[in-house]
């Protein structure tokens, strides 16, 4: 692999920098996982200040997404839109984050008011930025207002220095920009690992599905790796504020950087999980060799892999995207943890991939991924069964700063519209958006990056297109509603929820939109039938979203929780919760912070923030029952073709669940009957879930519930009262 010396004219870039603001702060060690201060930056006034973290904030919001949401809440009003000056991008870690012992402890949590949904979005992302920010002195940072020119914000965590400067010459696309900045801020090759860069890309400037790339330096590949804060358009807000990049530099990381009260327990617990992962992963999820892409054939076999805009759940060509294919592409035997000490090491990459299209055509690049969601979204869903094409789409999404999940789901939607005559070559400006046409999909993406043509429409997401196609082309609005796979404005991630009522709730009874990070219940529900009643489904839809919120309070990755399980997990009560690993979390939290929580308190910490986020949605004019419905394609067959593809299952359901004899009925009649039933079931599910969550029938957290969980902050009570 080539080194990067002399690849870029760094001196020229530096000469063009114009310092706009400098700020010094006192360096203090992290104590028991906290700095007890956050960083505030205003890009219009150039104000930079430290804010203390009051004890009450720590108690109620814990850290990570909790801190982000609290800072964001204080910054915005109900009328704030994504591009309003007061909107912020908040980045935080959490008390556990940055430890090097327990796998999966390096996540940053990013929030903003989303261009897609109008409510807070939160994304959980790897890379080194968050932990380095923490050890530089800040539990969170908030960036408010906008600059009128491209700026870089630089934090030097060893010197206690922050700069905002004008940066006109560096590249915009992330794979180049990150490399330039790692080089710029490292005095030598060895220092590159002490730098981390947050950037977006040209696509983020023109689309609402912009993502952020968080970098870390890969010593072996001698290149920056990029991990994405993908969902909900945070990259769009970033570029709207004219931020080119955030850079942090910190050296001096050790296993004690958090100053834990009980290092021994932390080390012991971490070592236990390291050993579990190293000995069991090959037999379990193969995260160390393939990563989440190991799921492709499993999902295909269970009819859960989205194909053709979620019409179907499997495809004969899906084997072309199966795990063994990816294993060959991914460079093996290199540590691929997105933070130090993650032996799960799932962040695989394709080296020396030669691009076939776009501005970097002919370049040999390192591609981060693809992960399962990208394969499902940009592969099977638009029926692109060509691994090279998926890798290329993955690469360009990342470097342009576009979310692969949203891009994949919206591309599927466009191809569906194309097949149904809602779109044609004329309307797409010549793009032939037929199933599997990866060249057209890529060209559409290059248009997004250039800010031209049909790409401009596409990049605004499914919800925008639904309205646009109905208005401009007179398309059937109901049909568009049925096949447009988004909730609250956010594109659904890549699992078929059609035959699992619980997962429909897992996707759509969520705070930010249909994203699998709250609950993934398909196997529990559909395959193993462990939660047959509404009450049981509701219990799962209470427990898992609340539990999983805790990862985002702490700066943890979800994967080491249940993508490896102790050998005796199946014999435990409630194996789905992986009880031994939950105990690990309690133990390491206590070991770092010196608190004495148990599993119950862990849940309460999360439940407070979960409900806070729900009320935040309310503040933004959403967050009620009508916001929580799926498009019908997420619930059942919209078209005759879909019905026929699973006719046996659906006919049987009519007979057994609705006592209707399907014989002699037309497919259209049967679709209608089934739909009535499923929509009714969903209503009952909402009732049960809201009740279990302590919310009104309308989905508003009740005053009693907020009191019970200790989240009865005056502002929240005042707000919910207006809606109860």
């Amino acid at each position: 692999m080539s080194t990067n010396e002399a690849k870029y004219d760094i001196e020229k870039f530096k000469k063009a920098h114009k310092i706009l603001k400098e700020f010094s702060y006192e360096l203090k060690p992290v104590v028991k996982g906290y700095n007890d201060r956050t960083l505030y930056i205003n890009l219009a006034t150039l104000e930079i200040k430290e804010k203390p973290v009051p004890a009450a904030m720590k108690k109620k919001f814990i850290g990570g997404k909790g801190f982000d949401l609290k800072l964001l809440w204080d910054a915005v009003s109900g009328s704030t839109r994504w591009d309003s000056p007061e909107n912020e991008i908040c980045i935080a870690t959490g008390p556990i984050a940055g430890n090097t012992n327990y796998p999966g402890s390096g996540k940053s949590l990013v929030t903003t008011i989303s261009p897609q949904t109008g409510i807070p979005i939160d994304s959980n992302v790897g890379g080194h930025f968050g932990p380095y920010l923490k050890f530089s002195g800040f539990d969170a940072m908030e960036i408010q207002d906008k600059s009128d020119r491209d700026v870089i914000i630089y934090i030097d965590g060893n010197q206690g220095k922050i700069q905002i400067f004008e940066a006109p010459l560096e590249a915009l696309d992330s794979h180049v920009l990150a490399e330039q900045l790692h080089e710029m801020y490292a005095a030598n090759e060895r220092e590159k690992q002490h730098v981390s860069v947050v950037s977006a890309g040209r696509g983020s400037e023109h689309a609402w599905i912009g993502c952020l790339n968080f970098s870390y330096w890969d010593k072996r590949r001698k290149l920056p790796r990029l991990k994405q804060a993908g969902r909900g358009g945070i990259g769009t807000v970033f570029r709207n504020k004219k931020i080119k990049a955030l850079v942090v530099k910190y050296s001096g990381l050790t296993g004690k950087s958090n100053n834990p009260v009980d290092l021994e327990t932390l080390q012991k617990t971490g070592l236990k999980l390291h050993k579990e992962i190293i000995s069991l992963d090959d037999k379990q999820c193969q995260m160390r060799t393939i990563g989440t892409a190991h799921l492709v054939e499993i999902m295909n076999d269970y009819d859960l892999l989205p194909t053709k805009n979620f019409r179907f759940g499997s495809h004969p060509d899906a084997v072309k995207l199966a795990s063994w294919v990816w294993k060959k592409y991914f460079t093996q035997n290199v540590p691929d943890g997105c933070w130090y000490g993650c032996t799960m090491s799932c962040a695989h990459g394709v080296d020396n991939f030669e691009l076939k299209t776009g501005p970097y055509k002919g370049h040999k690049v390192l591609v981060d991924g693809p992960e399962y969601e990208t394969v499902g979204g940009c592969g099977s869903n638009p029926a692109i069964f060509d691994p090279d094409a998926v890798i290329e789409i993955n690469f360009y999404c990342d470097t342009y700063g576009l979310d692969t999940i949203s891009f994949g789901t919206l591309t599927g939607f466009i191809m569906d519209c194309y097949e149904n005559g809602i779109l044609n070559k004329e309307r797409t400006g010549g793009l032939e958006m037929t199933w599997g046409n990866w060249r057209a999909a890529l060209e559409m993406m290059h248009q997004i990056a250039r800010g031209e043509g049909f790409g401009l429409v596409a990049g605004k997401g499914v919800k925008y297109m639904q309205e646009y196609f109905a208005k401009e082309y007179g398309a059937d609005a109901q049909f568009l509603k049925d096949i447009g796979m988004h909730g609250k404005g956010l594109e659904q991630s890549e699992y078929q929820s059609k035959e699992s009522l619980a997962q429909q709730g897992g996707y759509y009874l969520t705070n930010k939109g249909p994203q699998h990070d709250e609950a993934w219940l398909i196997f529990m529900d559909m395959v193993n039938n462990q939660i047959p009643t509404f009450e049981k489904k509701a219990e799962a839809l209470h427990y898992f979203p609340v539990f999983r919120t805790w990862f985002s309070l702490q700066g943890l990755c979800k994967l080491p929780w249940n993508d490896v399980e102790p050998a005796d997990n199946a014999e435990q009560d409630e194996p789905n919760k992986v009880p031994a690993h939950v105990q690990n979390y309690v133990d390491i939290y206590n070991a770092i912070t010196g608190e004495k929580i148990d599993k119950k308190e862990l849940m309460l910490q999360s439940e407070r923030v979960y409900n806070f986020q729900r009320v935040f949605n309310l503040k933004m004019g959403h967050g009620k029952r009508p916001d929580d419905y799926p498009p019908y394609r997420a619930m059942g067959p919209v078209t005759a073709e879909e019905y026929e593809s699973r006719a046996e299952r659906y006919d049987k359901a009519l007979q057994e669940k609705q006592n209707i004899n399907p014989q002699g009925k037309s497919t259209e009649e049967k679709i209608k009957l089934l739909r009535q039933y499923r929509e009714q079931q969903y209503e009952s599910l909402i009732d049960a879930v809201f009740k279990r969550r302590g919310w009104s029938r309308d989905g508003v957290p009740t005053v009693e519930h907020l009191k019970e969980i200790g989240m009865d902050l005056p502002e929240l009570i005042e707000l919910v009262k207006k809606h109860l």
């Binding site: 090097t100 012992n101 690992q193 010593k219 072996r220 990381l253 050790t254 296993g255 004690k256 290092l263 021994e264 080390q267 971490g270 070592l271 390291h274 050993k275 992962i277 190293i278 035997n333 290199v334 540590p335 943890g337 130090y340 000490g341 993650c342 032996t343």
Partner: protein
């Protein structure tokens, strides 16, 4: 590669090697801080655990703090180590060592100090082809 070859059948359990090793590298006589471990393996028989320079840990280290030197000995660069203990978990023979309160793991670097003092000839530095 250079490595410490052990002949457990000759070991009489005197623990001299552990004292020598921990004193040389940690300035204390403490078996927890010895890179070679002697343990009982039945009546009058002992097991010796020590690094065989297999290199599995090299690939595991996220900061590339573990490298192989010219003699084929696996070495840890303390300033690069961020104390994750991944190498400890990865070692197939459990001889990447840690001690309570310690941050950087340690291992046998085939220095010959213990072998020189072993009264029974149970330890010997040898070289084998890579």
């Amino acid at each position: 590669m250079k490595y410490l070859h052990t002949f457990a059948e000759k070991c009489n359990g005197c623990n001299t090697c552990m004292s020598v090793c921990s004193q040389l590298y940690f300035k204390v006589d403490d078996p927890e801080k010895s890179a070679i471990k002697v343990s009982a393996a039945g009546k009058n028989s002992f097991a010796l655990s020590v690094c065989n320079q297999c290199r599995v840990c090299v690939a595991e280290c996220p900061t590339a703090a573990i490298t192989v030197n010219k003699l084929g000995v696996v070495m840890i660069n303390k300033t690069l180590c961020i104390n994750c203990l991944a190498c400890v978990a990865a070692c197939p023979t459990d001889v990447m060592m840690t001690y309570r309160g310690g941050l950087v793991p340690f291992k046998c670097i085939a220095c010959d100090a213990c072998a020189k003092q072993c009264p029974t000839g149970a330890l010997k530095i040898e070289v084998k082809e890579d």
